[in-house]
């Protein structure tokens, strides 16, 4: 078996991207479910479950609109798909699938974090503002790695 000359950092980045793709996909799914429940709540239907009802009431009180939740979900799905594709791209050292899907994934992840900070109530962000800084760190670091450090490795 031939020894791979792929830098270990690309493998690590692929694993991390896979993890963030799953997290982003789950987050996006949650936004779509929230959007549907907010619609039901506004239509006067009773939401089952005390915790879920509180969550939906907090969302409605924060003034967020259904279209905002749909937008958050859609960008989250874009991030999840781009990051999932980038896992294969990084492992195979592909220029488009590796470098550019990572870039699209990073920008989408960052956008979701910033929009969530602006639109969602504090109780839902689950943390203080510095947790947003923490969420923004990985996309920025990934951009630096794929566009600067591994630029010459992702050329196929």
């Amino acid at each position: 078996m031939a020894i791979s000359d792929r830098p270990g950092g690309l493998t690590a980045l692929a694993v991390l991207n896979g993890f963030f793709a799953l997290a982003s996909g789950a987050g996006a799914l949650q936004r779509f479910i929230d959007e549907s429940r907010v619609g039901d709540h506004l239509a006067g239907e009773l939401i089952p479950g005390r915790w879920i009802r509180r969550r939906i009431e907090a969302l409605v009180e924060s003034g967020i609109e259904q279209v905002d939740l749909q937008l958050l979900g859609a960008i989250g799905i874009v991030a999840a798909l781009a990051l999932a594709l980038s896992v294969w791209g990084l492992l195979a050292r592909k220029k488009w699938a590796g470098r550019w899907c990572s870039t699209v994934g990073a920008i989408s992840l960052g956008t979701v974090s910033v929009l969530a900070m602006i639109w969602l109530p504090h109780s839902m962000i689950r943390g203080s503002g510095i947790s947003i800084v923490r969420q923004l760190f990985y996309p920025l670091f990934m951009l630096f790695l794929v566009q600067v450090i591994f630029r010459k490795d992702l050329v196929r």
Partner: protein, 302 residues
């Protein structure tokens, strides 16, 4: 001498560049920053989200830090009895020290740095475990040694690991201080910047012995993962064994001084002489570790 210095700098630069391209380096950077910001979040969240009043948080923090300082300085008794002794005015020095960190200095920054001081010893081995053992395992060290000396290779790798760790700590502290100054604004910039610089200096000194310990383990163990478990295991085992053994026989608590656990908190002491001594201990500890690593590496059959 100039040639050796040049070689050390080249090895340091290559080590840092390799760290950014290697899996261990990427994981080290991501985990250190994410864990550091998570600890900051842990300290800031109660105030920022309004779970507790500022004054109540200050009182609780002063008491908690007092207990931690008392335990770290091997005071007798369990945490409950230490609280009682602090309230009865017995442990005046610890109470004053805790109040200095919480009342006289930016409280949230002090708490974050104390938490970082507990977690950094477990994260730093991630940045050092492949420094020597990675090349030994892949046998690529055989291609390096005809072109350089073992001493300059070891010192260059040490310098590279140190600079990377210091840059990460610097970036982390800059992010925390900027956040505290711009978003929370509980303390003025005149208080935040000098204390931020001092805390960063304390963490830089604290990282030196742990990076040297990581290099020592990487030199002794030929398999990188074994080196990682050895350095992280030693960092965890020393306080666990010291506190367990102390329950059996009081003087065994001094095992804590095998690593900087016993004096690292003194880097944030209000007394300048205590701080200077703690800095010297950190340097001494690091020099001992790197001397053993140097001796081991020079006589190793590679």
């Amino acid at each position: 001498m100039t040639t050796m210095l040049r070689q050390i700098l080249i090895h340091a630069r290559n080590s840092m560049s390799h760290s950014l391209r290697s899996g261990s380096g990427v994981v080290f950077i991501v985990l250190t920053i994410l864990a550091g910001l998570a600890l900051a979040n842990l300290a800031f969240a109660p105030i920022e989200l309004g779970f507790i009043e500022l004054e109540q948080f200050r009182d609780n923090a002063a008491q908690g830090i007092g207990v931690v300082l008392s335990l770290a300085t091997l005071q007798q008794g369990d945490p409950d009895s230490i609280v009682g002794r602090m309230e009865s005015g017995e442990l005046v020095e610890m109470t004053m020290w805790a109040r200095y960190l919480v009342l006289e200095k930016p409280m949230l920054l002090s708490i974050t740095v104390l938490l970082l001081g507990l977690v950094l010893p477990l994260l730093l081995p991630l940045g050092t475990y492949t420094a020597i053992s990675g090349d030994v395992q892949h046998r690529s060290i055989r291609y390096l040694l005809p072109r350089t000396t073992r001493s300059s290779l070891l010192l260059g790798r040490l310098l590279g690991c140190l600079l990377l760790a210091w840059m990460l700590i610097g970036a982390l502290m800059a992010a925390i201080v900027l956040y505290l100054g711009i978003v929370l604004s509980l303390d003025s910039w005149d208080e935040l910047i000098p204390w931020g610089l001092r805390c960063t200096g304390a963490l830089l000194f604290l990282s030196f012995p742990y990076v040297c310990l990581g290099i020592l383990c990487s030199t002794i163990c030929r398999v990188p993962l074994v080196a990682l478990f050895a350095s992280a295991g030693v960092a965890v085992a020393v306080p666990v064994i010291a506190f367990s053994a102390r329950a059996a026989w009081e003087p065994l608590g001094n095992l804590l001084y095998l690593l900087p656990w016993g004096y690292s908190h003194q880097l944030l002491s209000p007394d300048a002489q205590t701080v200077s001594m703690a800095m010297l201990y950190c340097l001494g500890h690091g020099l001992i570790f790197i001397s053993i690593a140097h001796h081991q590496f020079r006589k190793a059959d590679l």
